[in-house]
């Protein structure tokens, strides 16, 4: 090895040992916490999974879902078995392997919300957006999801639009409410 690279190389090795080395994806750092040099092998399985979670979160933030080719690329770059990544990605509900819409509408179908007419609200939203719960509209603008209780039952029935919690929903005002927040198309 050439003289001038020797130092650099040693520095790199040291960093590798300390787990400071980070890989890049798309010219951006995915997450500093992950390094194949630390936390591989048996026993510290949990740590490894944790780093996969943060990795996937970064990817999801970027793409709004987890594209298969990105996962494959990351697996290769990070030297993480693709199976592990796929297991974690399918384990958590918050990760999606399918493209989701730009706007995410979540309707609560928990007990309290159900009792106070959550089903009707979901039905109405589903009619307005022309998608069923769990689906994404063709133009990839909206995704509709239902969850069982968001822990804010006092506000039942509850709808969450792009992370904004909107309680005491009523079928009568749902249309104007959605129009305020979403680029709805009128026929």
């Amino acid at each position: 090895m050439e003289e001038k690279y020797q130092d650099e190389f040693e520095e790199f090795l040291k960093a590798l040992e300390n787990g400071e080395v980070t890989a890049e994806y798309d010219g951006k750092e995915i997450s500093e916490a992950v390094c194949p040099a630390n936390g591989s092998g048996k026993g510290d399985n949990n740590e490894e999974n944790n780093s996969i979670v943060s990795l996937l979160q970064e990817i999801q933030k970027e793409h709004h879902y987890l594209p298969a080719d990105v996962l494959k690329e990351v697996a290769e770059k990070r030297n993480i078995p693709l199976m592990d990544i796929y297991s974690v990605a399918t384990f958590y509900k918050s990760f999606s392997l399918e493209p989701v819409g730009k706007h995410k509408i979540v309707c609560c179908s928990g007990t309290a919300c159900h009792v106070r007419g959550g089903k009707k609200i979901t039905g109405e939203i589903s009619r307005l957006l022309k998608i069923k719960p769990g689906e994404t509209s063709k133009d990839r603008l909206f995704s509709l999801e239902t969850v069982s209780c968001l822990g804010a039952c006092a506000l039942a029935p509850l709808v969450v639009v792009d992370g904004e919690y909107c309680g005491n929903m009523a079928t009568s005002r749902i249309e104007s409410f959605l129009e305020e927040r979403l680029p709805l198309q009128k026929e």
Partner: protein, 225 residues
């Protein structure tokens, strides 16, 4: 070295030995579904339950394949409580996957003759043997668990043919659910129990802890005929 009591017997085993290994060493058979000597213990099937207690303490059921031998532990491998739990487990496995010979054999061996649960016909019991085989022995990690809860299943990444898979067949070799029952996969009745009527070729016979050879020779002979 650790000293413990196994079925009333004072025994000494090396530190780090699991209760299952200890029992095996002393010739006591404990049924297993998700254990293999060559793979890391997993504790998924719970069939290897044993009752353990510290002197003076309450006893509890633990999976012996993952439980390390500890100083002063009192272990019972075939107590009434254990047998009851074990039979129930076998019954549950029968209700899940009646097409497996491994499970049918267990049922006969432990005198499980009926299924009181809703009958299902799964082809996997999620014992994880194939996953560990692929990872630990074949160094491939081509298959693994996907999804969770009721939807948990074994698959490859993206359910497509995996690049890591070398078609070694190790996963099929080790799978207890892939061993089809003697009458073939489409038998109507969920319990076979054909081996139940055979008297095992052992000298002594005990109800709960039988010592006949595994797989049962008498049973195998009958199938060949």
């Amino acid at each position: 070295m650790v000293n413990l009591t196994l079925n009333g017997l004072e025994i000494t085993v090396e530190k780090g030995t699991t209760l299952l290994e200890a029992a095996k060493f002393y010739g006591i058979e404990i049924p297993t579904l998700c254990y293999d000597e060559a793979l890391s213990p997993y504790g998924a099937c719970r069939l290897c339950l044993v009752e353990v207690s510290k002197p003076g303490g309450r006893s509890k059921l633990v999976s012996s394949c993952t439980y390390p031998a500890m100083e002063g532990l009192v272990v019972r491998t075939h107590s009434e409580r254990v047998m009851k739990a074990r039979r129930l487990l076998i019954e549950l496995y029968l209700a899940t996957c009646p097409s497996s010979k491994t499970i049918q054999d267990l049922a006969s061996k432990y005198h499980v003759t009926k299924v009181r649960f809703t009958q299902k016909h799964e082809d996997c019991i999620l014992c994880g043997l194939c996953v560990r085989m692929c990872e630990e022995q074949m160094q491939a990690k081509a298959i693994g668990f996907v999804n969770r809860g009721a939807e948990r299943r074994i698959s490859t990444p993206f359910d497509a043919k995996s690049d890591e898979c070398r078609l070694c067949g190790g996963c099929i070799y080790i799978c207890p659910a892939c061993r089809l029952r003697c009458q073939g996969p489409n038998e109507e009745s969920p319990v076979c129990n054909a081996c139940l009527n055979l008297s095992p070729p052992c000298l002594d016979q005990y109800d709960d802890a039988m010592c006949y050879m595994d797989p049962c020779v008498a049973c195998e002979l009958k199938i060949q005929k």
